[in-house]
Subunit: 337 residues, 4 copies
C-alpha cells in the first residue's frame, strides 16, 4: 500500500500519518520526492481496508499495491487449472463447447435439442430448470422437473449437463442432479450462495456480474476456492454499457486479462453477451480466436416459441455450421475442438 | 407492442408476420407508412417475450409499448404510498433521515453512535449485522449478536432500526429483530430473496443495483408487491460508470424518474453513492433538494478505526451540521425534517 | 511514479528496471516488501508517458502519483478563481444563473425569452448561434445572424451573453460578439480549438465531455490556462451511462470533486444533463444544494415549436418559480442568488 | 413515429395530440388498445425533433420508428461499398491490415517500422503527424515534417499511407500528403471537420467516439456522405466503460451491428481498443474472426522509447507472427489477407 501526501502537507501531518500506520502494526517507509512525499507500507496490509487512511489531514490518495485475492492468482499457481465436468476437461488444449436451450420446457424439447447439439459435436449440455427472471410474471422454469429431464438427457445422449443454481435452498438438489453448478451474473456477489457452493462437491461455473470488474470476479471466485472448492470456471457474458445495439457489451479482452491474472479456465457466452441471434456466431468465433477455453451457446429448434430468451438462441443448423467453423479456427490458436 | 418492418420487406413477409401474431392469439394492426409498414399488436402482449418476433424475415425492430410492471405503477395508484417503519412514515411530508454505522461492531460503538444521531434528530437507526463483502477475507459482520445490539439500541434510544438481510436463511431472524428489511444493491435481482421478502411482515428497503435501470428496479419491487408486501421503499445509491472520482456515480435524476412512474417512496444513500466522506454532506443536501423522501447516511465516531467502509462515514459533528442544514433546506421543497 | 514488480520478479529483472529508470535521467528508489518490490521514481516524471515501463519483464503495474495538470490545480492556487463575464462574476458568493433558449431562432423569439428570464432574475443570457447537431439534416443554427440577435438582446436588456463556438474558423467572430466562449461537450478534446481559445481575450466556459473523467476535463482546461487564458469556467452537463430514463446521467459529485482539485468555478447544466423538462427544476435545485457556482438552464416560451431540444426547455413561468426557489435555497449553502 | 398515450389520458388529451400532429402537416393514425391508445404518425417526420410532442398532457412516450440516416444505410444500398485507399480496397474479400507507429518520430524510425510491416505483409502504413493529446505538455507530433516523412515512406516502400487530421486548418495539407484522412474518436462529432472532410477528395477513416452509439457513428458518417464523399471507412476502437483492466472496452459486436445497418466497410483498432500490448494480438485475431474488413495495429521497434502510446505498440516480430496467424484465420471466415 502506498500513501501519497498532498504537495502542501506539513511535516506534522506526515508525522501523524506515520504514527497512525505504526499504530496499526505496520511499517511506514516515507519517500520524500521533489513535489510531495509518498509513504510505502509493508506488513499485512490485507487486514485493513485500503481507504481507512484516506481522510487523514494532508493525505492526497491511497494506492493499493497487492492484489486482494490469493488462491485464484496465477502468482500462487503459475500453471493452468484443469476443471473436470462429468469427464470433460475445461482449461486444457480442447476448447469445450457447451450448448442447449435457455430453459428446459419439456422432455421432448430437451431431447430434440440435445440430439442436435450432441450430433454436431457439443461436449456439455446446458439448460435452465430454475430461471432468474427480471419480471415476476415471466416463466420461472420447471424446477426439479427440469432437473429430472436434464438427467434423462445425460443418460440417453451420454453428455455431461450443467444448469443454474439460484439459491442456497435448491443448491443441494441442483448439486445432486447436475455435473456443474452454474452461478449467474446476478448472483456473482450473492456471498451466501458462494459460501455454500464453496463447500459443494461439484465444479462451479461463475459468471461475471453485469458491472463487475475483473478483480471483483476474481474475489468472488476466491470465496469458492477459500471454501475448499478448487474446480471453478469463470465466464464472460457481457457487461452493461451505454451501447444499445446489443443487450450487453461482450468484453472479450476479459479473457486475456483473466488468463494473465488467474490460473482458472475462462468461458465466453456470446448468447447472453449479445442477446441477438445474428450476432452469436460471429462472436463465438471471436471468443475462440481471442483464446477462450470454452464457449456456451443457446440453441433452440423453435426459438420463436421458446419460453425464455428465444431471440438469442441459434437454430440447430446454425450450431452445426458454427461447430464446423470452430473446428477450422481452433488450430490457428493451437487448440482443438 | 409495435413491429416495425424493413423498408424492403415484401408483402409476403408482412403477411407472414401478421399470421404469426394471429397464431399467438393477438390482433395485428398494420399501418402502411410512406417508407415502411408498422404493425401494432393488441391483446395480452404481456404473455409473450417482446423479441420473439424480432428475427422473422423482414422485421426491422420490435418496440414494446406497455410497461411490464403493474402494482408499483403510479397508473394503478396515483397517490403516494406511505410506508411505516416502526412508527416512522416514509413518503409523507417529512423527509426521513436514517443514520448509523456501516457495521455494528460492539454494543459500545452502536450506542455511542446512536446517542449522537438521535440527539441530532435522526428518525431511524441503521447498522449492518450481516455484511456483503467483496472479499472473503474482509469483516463479515457480527451476525445475530449484531441484531441483538441493534434491538438494545432501539429500546434505549426509542428509535426504529433497519438492517440488511443477506439471504433467505437469515431472513426470519432479521425479520424478528428489525423494523425494516434492507435488501442491498447486489441482491436487487436475487429473486429467491425477493420472493421471501414479499411474504414478510416487515417493510422492505430495496436498493437499486449498481447497473440496474429504473424499469428493472421497479420490476424487482413488483416481486415484493405481487408477493403481498406493499410496504416498499426504493433507494438510489449510485450506479457504476467510467467515472473514477467517486466509488459510484449517484444518479439523483432517478428520484424524479421513480416518482413519476411509481407511488413508492424514494430514499437516497449518499454514503455508498459517493464512497468519500467529504462528498456525503453536499450530496445529502442535493438529495433533499431534488425531492427525495428520505436519506440514509453512515455515521461513525472513529471512522479511521471502522471495520467497514470507514472512509465514507461522516463524524457525529458533521451529521449534526447536516441535520441543521437540512432543517433549513426542506421547507424550500415543501417538506419538513 | 511507482513501479510495482511481480511477486515472482527475479533480481535481474528488478535490476534491469532500475537501469532503465536511470537511463531516462530519473532516480529509482526500490522498496523491497514482504510480497514484492515496489520502485518509487523521483525526478521530472511528467516528461515520460506513465506506461512506458509497463511492459518490461517482471513489471506488474505502474502507478502514477503526481497529477499531470498544474495551472488549474488548487495545489498551485489555493483560493477560488473569480471569472468575470461581461461584469458578472463566476466563482464568488453569488450563484450565477445563465438562461435562454437552446438555439436563437429569430429576434422576436430571442427578445421574448430574454425579457422573461431577465425579469425573473437571470444574470447571463445564453443562446446558440452555431449548433452542433448529431444529424446533418437537423437545424444548424442561424450563424452570424444569431450572434447579431444576441448582441441586440445584450444591449436592450443589459445582460451579458454567452454562446457556443464550434470551430477555429468562427472563433474570432464569436469572440467579437459574445462575452464568453462556450466550448461544448463534444469539443472538450478538440485540442486545436482549445489552443485558439487559450489565446482569446474572452473567458471560456468548458463543458465536460460525455465520457470524460475529471482529470481529462482539468487537462483540457490546462490547455486553456497554459495558453494564457486564465478565465475558465467548468461545466458538468451529464455523462453517458447505461441508464435510459434520462438523456445523460447528471454527475453532481463532479462539482465537489472539481472544487477539491481545482480553483476554477463550476457550473451545472441540468437541461442537457437530463434532457427532460420535468427533471430540470429538481436537478437545478440539487446543483445549487451541492455547491455549484452557477447553473445554466434552457428556457423557451413555445418549447413544442422550438427548432432544437424543445423537450428539455422549461417555460418562462417555470423559470420564475425556479428562481424563487433558488432564492430561498442559496442561503442554506452560504450563497446568494 | 409513434406516440404512446398514458393509460389515464382523457379523450380530450388524445384529441389535442391529434390536432397538434395535424398542425405540423403530418397524419395521425390513432390505435386504441385495451390498455392505452397509441398514435402512429406518417408524413415527413424527419423534419421534426422526435421529442417535441413528449411533454403534451397525456403523452407517455414517443417512439421513433425510422432511422434518421439515409445515405449510409444498407436499406438504400444493399451491396457492400468498396473504398479504395491508394489502390488498396477496403470492404472486399481481402482483410486489409494497416500498421505503423502511433506517432512519426523521425525518418529513421518511420523507415525502420515501415520496412518491417511491409515485409510482414501490411497493406497500408499508418503514422501520426498531428497528435491529439490529453495533456498540453505531451508530445504533439511533428506536423508537416511528419507528413513529409510519411510521403517518403510511401515512395520507398510502395505502400499507401494514412494519418490523422486534427482540424480544418491542416486538412488541406493532410489531404495533399495522405491517401486517407483519419478522423479520430475525439473528433467524431466535430461537425465542422466532418463537413470539410465531406468535400475532400480523399477517403475518410472515421473512428467511433468513446461513448458514441452506432446510430451516432452512422449519423457522423452521414455528414461525410451527404457532403459528397462516399469513400468512408468506419472504425471500432473501444468504448468507455467502468471496466479498468483495459484502457477502453473493445466492442466487437459493433462490427456485426454496423454491417447489418450500413454498407460501409468496418475496421477494428485493437491497439487503442485495449491500450495493452499483450492484448493486441488476441483481439486482432478476434476482430478478423468476427468479420471485420480491416484491422489497424500500432507497431514500434522500440516501444519503451516511443514518444506516444508505447505500451500498446507491438514489436515487429509480434506483428509478423500476427500476420501469419491471420493468414490462417481469414479463410475460416471466407476472406484472404
Amino acid at each position: 500500500m502506498l500513501i501519497v501526501m498532498d504537495r502542501l502537507a506539513t511535516p506534522a501531518q506526515i508525522e501523524s500519518v506515520l504514527d497512525r500506520i505504526r499504530s496499526l502494526g505496520l511499517d511506514p517507509h516515507p519517500n520524500p520526492g521533489a513535489q510531495r512525499t509518498a509513504i510505502g507500507i509493508t506488513g499485512n496490509t490485507g487486514a485493513i481496508d485500503a481507504p481507512v487512511l484516506e481522510e487523514l489531514p494532508g493525505v492526497l490518495e491511497i494506492i493499493r499495491v497487492s492484489h486482494p485475492y490469493k488462491l485464484v492468482s496465477r502468482e500462487v499457481q503459475p500453471e493452468n487449472s484443469i476443471v473436470p465436468v462429468g469427464g470433460v476437461c475445461f482449461g486444457g488444449e480442447k476448447v469445450i463447447v457447451v450448448a442447449g436451450p435457455c430453459a428446459i420446457e419439456s422432455l421432448d424439447q430437451a431431447r430434440t435439442i440435445a440430439e442436435a447439439v450432441k450430433k454436431a459435436g457439443a461436449h456439455v449440455y446446458r439448460g435452465g430448470a430454475y430461471k432468474p427472471r427480471t419480471s415476476p410474471y415471466a416463466f420461472q422454469g420447471l424446477g426439479e422437473a427440469g432437473l429430472e429431464i436434464m438427467a434423462k438427457v445425460r443418460e440417453e445422449f451420454e453428455i455431461p449437463i450443467m444448469t443454474e443454481v439460484l439459491d442456497t435452498e435448491t443448491l443441494p438438489l441442483v448439486e445432486q442432479y447436475s455435473d456443474c453448478l452454474q452461478i449467474g451474473a446476478r448472483n456473482m456477489q450473492n456471498f451466501s450462495l458462494l459460501k455454500k457452493a464453496g463447500k459443494a462437491n461439484k465444479p462451479v461455473l461463475l459468471k461475471r456480474g453485469m458491472s463487475a470488474t475483473i478483480e471483483e470476479l476474481l474475489l468472488s471466485a476466491e470465496y469458492l476456492l477459500s471454501g475448499g472448492n478448487r474446480n471453478v470456471i469463470l465466464c464472460e457474458r457481457g457487461v452493461r454499457t451505454f451501447a444499445d445495439h446489443t443487450r450487453n457489451t461482450l468484453d472479450l479482452s476479459a479473457v486475456v486479462a483473466i488468463h494473465r491474472l488467474s490460473h482458472l479456465p475462462v468461458m465466453v457466452d456470446p448468447s447472453h453477451g449479445t442477446g441477438k441471434r445474428h450476432k452469436v456466431i460471429p462472436l463465438a468465433r471471436a471468443a475462440v480466436a481471442v483464446g477462450a477455453d470454452s464457449i456456451m451457446v443457446e440453441v433452440h429448434h423453435k426459438p420463436e416459441a421458446a419460453l425464455s430468451d428465444g431471440p438469442q438462441a441459434i437454430l440447430p443448423d446454425q450450431f452445426a455450421e458454427l461447430m464446423e467453423q470452430l473446428g477450422r479456427l481452433a488450430p490457428v490458436v493451437g487448440r482443438t475442438i
